[in-house]
Symmetry: C2
Subunit: 356 residues, 2 copies
């Protein structure tokens, strides 16, 4: 959100461009739609690290063969509430939306449904999939491994990915309760941004290559788990939970063994694992009881007094506010985004984004 704004584009036009660019790489309509939907969801809500900036990366991975344009996805319902989706080394986004869809179908019957996904790839923001469940009236959770960027507590080097936890719960009169958080304090691209502008990082979020605390983005070698040097055992434990759910339950490699997302090799599939869980609130108490309880909770939460000059928000509130603003004003692109999308348009012979 601190980027330079070089131009703006409507969500509609951006979606059109994304779908066309992906179709040029032989991606089928459903998959192209899923990628556009996930990236637009993130870009509209202000999660710029997981929005439109990722498209050029996905295109490179498709062109290199790391990601299959026409994967043989295969879902197996193993028990009434559980299933496994083999994503066939395709795009992670259609895999994620299909997993949520299957989990919802199972939750309809049994109250809950969960799907482990294997042989997948980067799926954008985990929150998109949890949110999809909440939009349909279910609680949703989504987890994913990623390559090593975050230290263990008291470790010298990166071991876990930024392993996100996403949780969304439906709210009858209003937007869902939406958590989508990395289990590190900051994302790695924050370090890269601060390097570029030579800005000091907050304390207790990164370490140098021997595991020592630093605030210098140039010597920062890896991230600390949430909780920092003193309480990072909690962030690391959560990252490990995400790892066990996403990698062990899908039989995929854990983050430390994954090929790096931004490495040289754009040919070898990474074999990412995800995990999705859906619950029907009405399967525990009467739907109205749940709806009253969460509404009362959020009402109390939003009424709490704030520290001078700050504001108390429920998770997601900042994102819905950003979404309303961007739906009105357009989605911002920085100068690097503008150049990357111009290049894509030329290379793939897609009508350029109409920027304003």
């Amino acid at each position: 959100m601190t980027q330079d704004i070089a131009a703006r584009v409507s969500a509609e036009e951006l979606g059109r461009f994304m779908r066309e660019a992906l179709r040029r790489c032989d991606v089928d309509e459903t998959a192209a739609e899923a990628v556009a939907r996930a990236l637009l969801t993130a870009s509209r809500m202000g999660t710029d690290s997981h929005g439109l900036r990722l498209l050029p990366h996905y295109i490179r991975a498709l062109q290199g063969g790391r990601i299959q344009a026409r994967p043989a996805m295969r879902f197996t319902r193993r028990l009434p509430a559980t299933g496994y989706l083999d994503a066939g080394d395709g795009l992670g986004h259609p895999a994620g939306y299909q997993a949520i869809e299957r989990a919802i179908e199972m939750a309809e019957e049994t109250g809950m449904g969960a799907v482990a996904v294997g042989n997948s790839s980067h799926f954008g923001a985990a929150g998109c999939y949890a949110l999809e469940a909440a939009r349909r009236g279910y609680m949703g959770m989504a987890f994913c491994t990623a390559d090593a960027l975050v230290n263990l507590h008291d470790g010298t080097n990166a071991f876990h990915g930024t392993n996100p936890i996403a949780f969304a719960a439906p709210v009858a009169a209003g937007q869902p309760y939406l958590v989508d958080m990395a289990t590190s304090s900051i994302p790695w691209n924050r370090v890269q941004q601060y390097r570029a502008i030579d800005r000091t990082l907050p304390s207790n979020v990164v370490v140098d290559d021997r595991g020592g605390l630093t605030t210098d983005p140039h010597t920062a070698a890896s991230l600390l788990p949430l909780g920092g040097a003193d309480f990072g055992f909690k962030g690391a434990a959560l990252a490990g939970m995400v790892e066990v759910l996403s990698a062990s339950l899908s039989g995929m490699l854990h983050g430390f063994r994954l090929l790096p997302m931004l490495g040289e090799d754009m040919h070898t599939p990474r074999g990412i694992g995800h995990f999705f869980l859906v619950m029907n609130p009405g399967a525990f108490v009467e739907r109205e009881v749940y709806e009253r309880a969460i509404a009362a909770y959020l009402e109390d939460l939003r009424a709490q007094p704030a520290v001078e000059g700050r504001e108390v928000l429920a998770p997601g509130d900042r994102e819905w506010r950003c979404q309303a603003q961007r739906d009105a004003e357009g989605i911002p692109l920085d100068s690097a985004n503008v150049a990357a999308y111009r290049q894509l348009a030329e290379a793939l012979d897609v009508e350029p984004l109409p920027l304003t």
Copy 2:
């Protein structure tokens, strides 16, 4: 673990005392056994805040009528994978173990099972219940609300409880992967301990009564969520997830509205909500695939180099080590514990603990 050690007792003798003391308060055998099991599990693992020190509190709550000695517990299986347990204002521990039992039964059939528990009371350490699932070969999760001790991000006052997240995953050759963490950096009783010995608290974990950072235990009015003043929105979001799962899904009051655990009123039931989730790893991939994957993950984790003078551990490793030591040497009591247990023995006419 920094307590003064006034005496030690074997887990066996301590369990015998707990069961007898509870039986004197008209608690039935199954419930007394559940309380003893949960408190011993915590005391053996070194989680002293949730171990033997809680028995006198439970006895007071039973004698005051806040907790029913003979509750009418009622389980309803609402859908194949979900259920609701009305704990009848009884002890939280038998409710917790029964909920895990039911969830395991459902997971046997459908791959997963979850139980929301309402009209319950304090259940000790959340980890006990997740651990029980893991001991039986399942993944377990446990969540619970508590009365307000932790601020929202940028809030001036306490709103959430220390809302724990517990997660345990079975490991074929070894102890389970076990996370049991409050969503604040430190527990409130750490503040009380530091007050007593006039010791400065770590920075970024507590605030004064206007929400300003302090390290003085005497002016500390509430806890910050995990992540501290800068990244506490993550800890607060996790606490909120726990609140929604435990309170909204059980139709109970959220933490901000709960009667305080240590308040004057020992007569009115508190109406605590818990939430338990069990999954069968073999319901997603073949059991052996899961077992190999989690073993490989933990092997890599434990082999990571540590910062000078520290050690890299998997969540739970410290606890298993403590348990082995305490099983050999006995469970330590500080002087306050010794006095409290002597008093209980007299008041309830139970044979005193044989202390060494």
